[in-house]
């Protein structure tokens, strides 16, 4: 059945924080089960508002949101939220526990999971994100990338069907960024049914996703496979959105009368130029 295959659906969503300014205008999209979708767009384009709507922190002014075919409403927001986990941009704003262990366990405690089962789960997920040796450390002593790994473990341990990352890598250093992107891909491999929705500025990450949705001034202006979206360059250029490195270089070379085929590594580039 088609319905079972759609994990999340936005139907003609309108939203505004103030009456005069529309933050989202007629936003509709569908995310299939197991997809890895990146939402990209400028600061202030409405990306984070979409994330908040997804977990019912905000309610749309018009239109409705379906999670696994069920319309999100005040009555079912609590139960539906169990299927959705979110990791926010700033790791420092989402720590509750005094130790990494407490922090990963927090969501489980909330759901009244038995203590023995909880211990097993916390250990398992700390291992999955590579933070097992840090279980007794204070979250404040960790690096940004480590903090986000803990936050991801704390979310995944609740076994959500949808994982939302709201600019989870944008405040990290390059090493931390890579740690998180690698972890996302690893998680995806281990759990192909997990739907991942990542709100990001990282164009290289978006390029590696299964689908990209581009948002500008509260509207969806492009969506599809990254290859197609990024090569329909004109639209993205109008928006001054970034392109992946090798696409940008290809375009700059073409402007200078040097045509090359698509490449995705320095090695491939060398073969064409040298």
């Amino acid at each position: 059945m088609e319905k079972n295959n759609t994990s999340l659906k936005f139907n003609h969503i309108y939203f505004s924080y103030q009456d005069d300014a529309q933050t989202l205008k007629d936003v509709s999209f569908e995310v299939e089960k197991g997809e890895y979708v990146c939402l990209i767009g400028h600061n202030g384009s409405g990306k984070s508002t979409i994330a908040r709507l997804m977990i019912g922190l905000l309610s749309p002014k018009k239109g409705d949101i379906e999670i696994f075919g069920e319309k999100l409403s005040e009555d079912n927001v609590v139960s539906l939220r169990k299927k959705v986990g979110i990791v926010f941009q700033n790791p420092d704003n989402q720590f509750i526990g005094a130790t990494v262990r407490d922090d990963i366990a927090f969501g489980l405690e909330n759901e009244c999971v038995e203590e023995e089962r909880m211990e097993v789960l916390v250990d398992e997920y700390a291992k999955k994100v590579g933070m097992y040796e840090f279980l007794d450390k204070e979250p404040s002593s960790l690096s940004g990338g480590q903090k986000q790994r803990v936050a991801i473990a704390g979310t995944l341990v609740r076994n959500p069907s949808i994982l939302i990352l709201d600019e989870a890598t944008s405040m990290l250093d390059p090493k931390g960024k890579r740690e998180i992107i690698d972890l996302i891909h690893k998680t995806k491999q281990e759990n192909p049914d997990l739907t991942i929705i990542s709100i990001t500025h990282d164009i290289e990450e978006a390029y590696s996703a299964s689908k990209v949705i581009v948002i500008s001034s509260g509207e969806i202006i492009a969506s599809g496979q990254p290859k197609d979206v990024f090569t329909s360059q004109e639209k993205l250029e109008e928006l001054e959105l970034d392109l992946p490195f090798f696409l940008k270089l290809k375009k700059e070379l073409s402007n200078r009368g040097i045509e090359i085929n698509d490449v995705s590594s320095i090695e491939e580039l060398k073969r064409q130029l040298c």
């Binding site: 400028h42 405040m171 250093d173 040097i258």
Partner: protein
Amino acid sequence: MLGKFTSVNYVYGKEGTALASSALSDINLTIDDHVFLALVGETGSGKSTLVQHLNGLLLPTSGTVQVSHYLLKTEKKKKYYIDLDKEQGKHPKRKQFKVKDLRKFAGLVFQFPEYQLFEETVLKDVMFGPLNFGMEEKKAEAIAKAALKLVGIGESYYSRSPFELSGGEKRRVAIAGIIALEPKVLVLDEPTAGLDPKGEKEMMELFDKIYQSGKSIILVSHNMDLVLKYAHEVCVMNKGKLLKVSSPLEIFQDEEFLSSTAIEPPLVFKTALELKKAGLDLNLDNIKDIPSLAEEIRKAKKND
């Protein structure tokens, strides 16, 4: 000379206790006038600690920090703020300067400056600094408006609450608040983290403009693309030590040195380096970003 660190050590927490942890060890650094200097290194390498000495927010545990004619040191647990221009005076008290004067000289923009926002409206928030430094209301307002214009925040925002702005907008307002103090040195700790690529570019162009107008920029950044494009000099830090001070070109070329650090040259530079090794005659000096790389490739191809 803009500043000088002489044998600077900094220890967080009380020395000799379990809580003490050394953040800077034996830093010696001379900063020339009119620099665009970048500080790079892993999280926890001491970059933020170092720059907080530049406006007297932190004083060295031992050693001295001089910024312009302001000298900072700690002796026998007492903090000294010495105005070297007043050194001739007889009374030691007359040598003291007000740390406020140094704060106006060196404006520090923290990591996540949006945490510093607190006023009811955007305009009031940016006016706070100048007013606090004794400027009259009308002038403060004019300066605040000019600073907001510089960072790309329009009039329609003046009366809005800073807290309902988007992340990128908050960042701009916070930076306008520092620019409004008209500092001679702008110290920026990861100013573009969390901004989108367009916002990042606009912000960096603004800092470059401020640099071109004769002021100094000291930038802490993990983003090597920005370091390559804008900085003229780079300080590499690791575990509280200053490893190297050099031009971006020299540092990004030194593969042996880089392999001992966590720093990776930007992809654009790495690509240029690899193409050059493979026989394309590129002038690495000119590589700043993707367009300049494409231009160098074109020139090399033409001469082929």
